[in-house]
């Protein structure tokens, strides 16, 4: 169960979005500049709403009324940024391992193998992010978020610069995460087919407002 209700002024742009959804994948669908990344940023705890309320599975992450504001590093939400944001000074391997390192858990070689295999980045482990290709960077960012074992996954156009072949490998994995581990996700994408394949619930954002919410047939 995920519930979001946030208000925020960003310069001339004002965001006022309210939606909630049972677990599973919630797709944020909407034109460029409509506020999707901003909403995700607030769920992640990187942007503070002017007012509002954010909760996952009953636990309140933010509530302006009661003054609750769980800091980002305690929220355990995996965030795949629209712009990758790999740590430039760390090797791909250390980037992937970063979340595990911070949580202090011990290595899960199996999962690492599985993910690097799925994303086809095993051959990049020793490289630094600087000279990675756009798609490689995006895949590593995706792996980094998956490997931190999040309780909620925020995906901001995670497949935008990947080729069809790879998309068709990764999408099913998301479906498995959704169905087997029951990992809730907020999924931002402009690709209708992706959204159709993955989302249980669709939230249409327009100019900072929720224009509509509904099932896949909405698009």
């Amino acid at each position: 169960m995920l519930s979001v209700a946030v208000k925020k002024k960003l310069g001339a742009f004002s965001l006022d979005a309210k939606f909630d959804s049972a677990c599973g994948v919630t797709a944020l669908f909407g034109p460029s500049g409509s506020g999707k990344t901003s909403i995700i940023g607030m769920v992640a705890g990187l942007m503070k709403p002017d007012s509002g309320h954010i909760a996952i599975g009953g636990e309140v992450l933010f509530d302006s009324a009661t003054g609750i504001d769980e800091p980002a590093h305690k929220r355990r939400v995996g965030y795949v940024f629209q712009d990758g944001r790999l740590f430039p000074h760390l090797s791909v391997a250390r980037n992937l391992d970063y979340g595990r390192w911070m949580s202090g858990a011990n290595r899960d070689e199996l999962q690492l193998k599985q993910i690097t295999g799925l994303l086809d980045i095993a051959h990049l482990l020793r490289r630094r992010p600087g000279a990675l290709s756009g798609g490689e960077r995006q895949r590593v960012a995706l792996g980094r978020a998956l490997l931190m074992k999040p309780r909620l996954l925020l995906l901001d156009e995670p497949l935008a610069s990947l080729d069809a072949a790879r998309k068709s490998e990764i999408l099913p994995y998301f479906v498995r995460l959704r169905d087997e581990i029951k990992l809730p996700m907020i999924y931002v994408s402009h690709d209708a087919s992706e959204v159709k394949a993955l989302a249980n619930r669709i939230v249409m954002i327009e100019a900072g407002r929720v224009a509509a919410t509904g099932q896949v047939d909405l698009i």
Binding site: G45, A72, R76, F81, F87, P88, H89, M102, A131, M148
Partner: protein, 230 residues
């Protein structure tokens, strides 16, 4: 032909120790202050800034005299610190203190510059991956600030080699205890016919700094590359 007296060699050794220790000890403080100045807004920030720049703005002699008044045996801090066994007055530790104080603004300036250049979005990413403020600083901010830290350390080290006005005023010019290369050079320039001897020491000073610079260039290049992800 090139020759140094035993006393001059001691001065060289002492200078190295003083410069190294003062830089090493000042560094953590420098990083902390630089971070505060780069990231925090608070009343009296301008004042803190001014205090740090003071040793740069005032003639070294004055700084040295103020140190003498504050950290001398009878000085306010001097007495308190002495009671816990930390003595500066007329010890090499005092020379190190003087050098550290004189070099501090340079160090802070460089490090602050690098911290301000760090792109916060990486720190945000670290936060979502579960790093608290302290870990973010240690694993992201600090490594990305390395170029500034190296540059700051070199500036401080070089400054410490050249410092003498504050040192000689604070802890005098006692061979083997507080007489650094610079103090020795100065003394030699104060007497007829000392210049040639002074030149020898000048050459030594240059050689030392040359080594320090080459080393820093090397580390600096690697640190810079890492910051840009290669």
């Amino acid at each position: 032909m090139f020759e140094l007296s035993a006393e001059e060699w001691t001065a060289v050794a002492l200078s190295l120790r003083v410069a190294a220790v003062s830089t090493a000890v000042a560094l953590p403080f420098g990083i902390a202050i630089a971070w505060v100045l780069a990231r925090k807004e608070f009343p009296g920030k301008a004042f803190l800034n001014a205090v740090i720049y003071l040793p740069l703005v005032l003639p070294p002699v004055v700084t040295g005299y103020l140190l003498l008044l504050a950290f001398g045996r009878k000085g306010f801090f001097g007495e308190t610190l002495a009671s816990i066994g930390v003595v500066f007055s007329f010890r090499w530790t005092g020379a190190a203190l003087a050098c550290g104080v004189m070099a501090f603004p340079l160090m802070v300036g460089a490090i602050r510059l690098s911290i301000e250049a760090v792109d916060r979005k990486f720190e945000d990413a670290a936060a979502t991956l579960g790093a608290n403020r302290m870990w973010i600083f240690l694993t992201v901010t600090l490594p990305l600030t390395l170029p500034g830290i190296i540059a700051g350390a070199v500036l401080a080290f070089a400054r410490a080699l050249g410092e003498f006005g504050a040192t000689i005023t604070f802890v005098s010019n006692i061979p083997g205890e507080t007489q650094t290369i610079s103090a020795a050079i100065y003394t030699l320039t104060q007497v007829p016919g000392g210049d040639s001897k002074a030149l020898n020491l000048v050459i030594v000073a240059i050689l030392i700094s040359l080594v320090a610079l080459v080393a820093s260039e090397w580390f600096g290049r690697r640190a810079g590359a890492r910051v840009h992800g290669v």
